[in-house]
């Protein structure tokens, strides 16, 4: 028993581990809750594209500030919001299929980001941080920013619970009830974009989609109501964050990857132990 307690407590004696754990929990919760809508609305590809597309914004912040975290955060935030708003417009106007348009634009944004970062000589290490995250490098001030932004996302999702539920389940009902559907659709995209910024330091842009969809998909297998699904997803997300960080500490693997792998393992376990439930 004492050995197990020691096993759990030992990493906490390092302030960076403590900050990392707090960040991992916040990221796990926020990603999982906004991820429920990504899963229910079938936006996994869009979420992935969105995460990748903010790289050029991060790159500009990185180049202008010489790697200062705050600047990167704000530049990333701005790009995320602009990108989210841009997506809604592309989908409706494009002459080619929406997913094709998204594929072209976002892969090229990602390439632009890499090109920009590669202009700095020592870019490889920093690029890796942006791509795969480094939750252990988070500062106390980053933690406050992450918390504030994550709190904003959660509050908005709670406040607009019934509206987001309606636009996701039955868009035609949303129109006949004269809800501001267009605004709500865009707002949801912006919230997902903000979520990617919250999660940027923990898992990076390349692994972001896993944090958005895996805990939510796991919760989906286990719940019959949206509030339950959100709560379960949040718990699974937080658990993945904490367990992944311990794994990274003891096995010495990259933290972002460890968090993602734990959430995948949880998903696989739940998939195995729940029989194929309802079928339409």
């Amino acid at each position: 028993m004492d050995r197990w307690l020691g096993f759990l407590i030992e990493p906490l004696s390092y302030p960076f581990m403590l900050r990392g754990l707090i960040a991992a929990v916040m990221v796990g919760v926020v990603c999982a809750v906004s991820g429920t809508y990504v899963v229910l609305r079938g936006m996994a590809f869009l979420g992935d594209a969105l995460a990748h597309a903010i790289l050029p914004g991060i790159a500009v912040g990185y180049l202008l500030s010489g790697g200062e975290r705050q600047a990167i955060f704000w530049w990333g935030l701005g790009t995320a919001v602009l990108t989210a708003l841009g997506i809604g417009t592309i989908g409706k106007r494009a002459r080619i299929r929406e997913d094709t348009a998204i594929g072209i634009i976002f892969a090229s944004m990602f390439a632009l980001g890499i090109a920009l970062i590669s202009t700095v000589r020592s870019y490889a290490v920093d690029l890796a941080h942006f791509l795969f995250g480094n939750v252990l490098g988070i500062s106390a001030r980053d933690l406050w920013l992450t918390g504030a932004l994550g709190g904003l996302v959660l509050l908005t999702i709670i406040a607009l619970y019934k509206e987001f539920l309606i636009i996701s389940f039955d868009p035609i009902l949303a129109v006949t009830l004269r809800l501001p559907s267009g605004f709500l659709d865009h707002l949801l995209l912006v919230l997902i974009a903000l979520t990617t910024i919250v999660a940027l330091q923990a898992v990076g842009v390349a692994l972001m989609v896993a944090m958005l969809i895996t805990p939510a998909a796991t919760a989906y297998l286990l719940s019959n109501r949206l509030p339950t699904m959100m709560l379960l997803a949040a718990l699974i997300g937080a658990f993945s964050g904490v367990a992944g960080l311990y794994l990274s500490y003891y096995v010495n693997v990259a933290s972002g990857a460890a968090i993602v792998l734990v959430s995948t393992a949880t998903f696989m376990l739940v998939l195995l132990f729940t029989r194929h439930r309802r079928s339409a």
């Binding site: 619970y161 509206e163 035609i172 719940s223 109501r225 699904m229 309802r278």
Partner: protein, 273 residues
């Protein structure tokens, strides 16, 4: 006791003299190709009307224009004298195939969605709203299934749930898009019983259907549609050989039997436009 169902709350003002629905010279084009051409008709409050026509006749398009989901290319739709965009009294009952049945919502959750317009933006439904939802579920006979996940419902129960949602919305005009497709006869009868009961509330019903017999026996009037309005009126006057031939063309066979004319339609049960 407070009357649980009342239809007096309205988003837009209704003109008492205006018909509940006016469709005037409505044309809808998808990429230049007409789906509906110059449709004109009126509905008065409480009327039950069936909309029949072959696949691709524009039945769903017509409903979407009336619901305000789709803007007509030309022409106007008025609900009780006003533009549809300001009304929350029009309910669209979706085709079963358009619904994600694995969505994590219960029957009561779906019916509560209909209340959202009355509850208001950013507000949470209160105890009275839940009472109202349960009353609507009772009306359609789904009380015992309120907390089931929607995928667990049978076909007939699914349609009745959406009618309950339209009641929760306090809809005065219900647009039902082929609610009976794929249902067996007892399930159809359950749904039709609920639809008939809407007469006591003076709810106007437009139902798209492939079943001409049903349209003739359970509705006040029928609309025969094939992009254009082929006919509207009492079934007796609309379901005539020339008009049916005009609407269905090759797809309809008429067989003379001892009992009368037997109609065979081979366009049934696919997905309409």
């Amino acid at each position: 006791m407070r009357p649980v169902l009342n239809l007096t709350h309205r988003h837009a003002r209704h003109d008492a003299e205006a018909p509940i629905l006016e469709v005037n010279q409505v044309t809808v084009k998808y990429n230049g190709r007409p789906a509906l051409e110059e449709i004109t008709f009126l509905l008065s409050a409480g009327e039950h009307i069936a909309v029949v026509g072959p696949n691709g006749a524009g039945k769903s398009t017509l409903f979407k224009v009336i619901a305000g989901v789709l803007k007509p290319t030309q022409g106007v739709v008025r609900i009780a004298g006003h533009h549809p965009g300001s009304h929350i009294c029009v309910a669209y009952v979706p085709q079963s195939s358009q619904v994600e049945w694995t969505f994590p919502v219960t029957v009561a959750d779906v019916v509560m969605m209909g209340r959202a317009g009355k509850v208001g933006l950013l507000r949470r439904p209160g105890r009275r709203d839940w009472e109202y939802v349960h009353h609507c579920l009772e009306t359609v006979g789904l009380t015992g299934l309120a907390s089931r996940q929607i995928g667990a419902l049978s076909g007939g129960e699914r349609q009745r749930m959406f009618i309950a949602r339209a009641l929760a919305q306090e809809a005065e005009l219900m647009l039902m898009d082929e609610p009976l497709t794929g249902l067996d006869v007892p399930a159809q009868e359950e749904v039709l019983r609920v639809v008939d009961e809407l007469r006591t509330r003076r709810v106007t019903v437009m139902m798209a259907t492939h079943d001409l017999n049903l349209a003739a026996s359970r509705f006040d009037r029928v609309v025969l549609l094939n992009r254009r309005l082929v006919g509207i009126g009492h079934p007796r006057d609309v379901f005539t050989a020339p008009l049916l031939q005009a609407a269905y063309g090759e797809h309809l066979r008429m067989v003379q039997t001892e009992a009368g004319v037997l109609l065979l339609s081979d366009t049934c049960c696919g997905r309409g436009l």
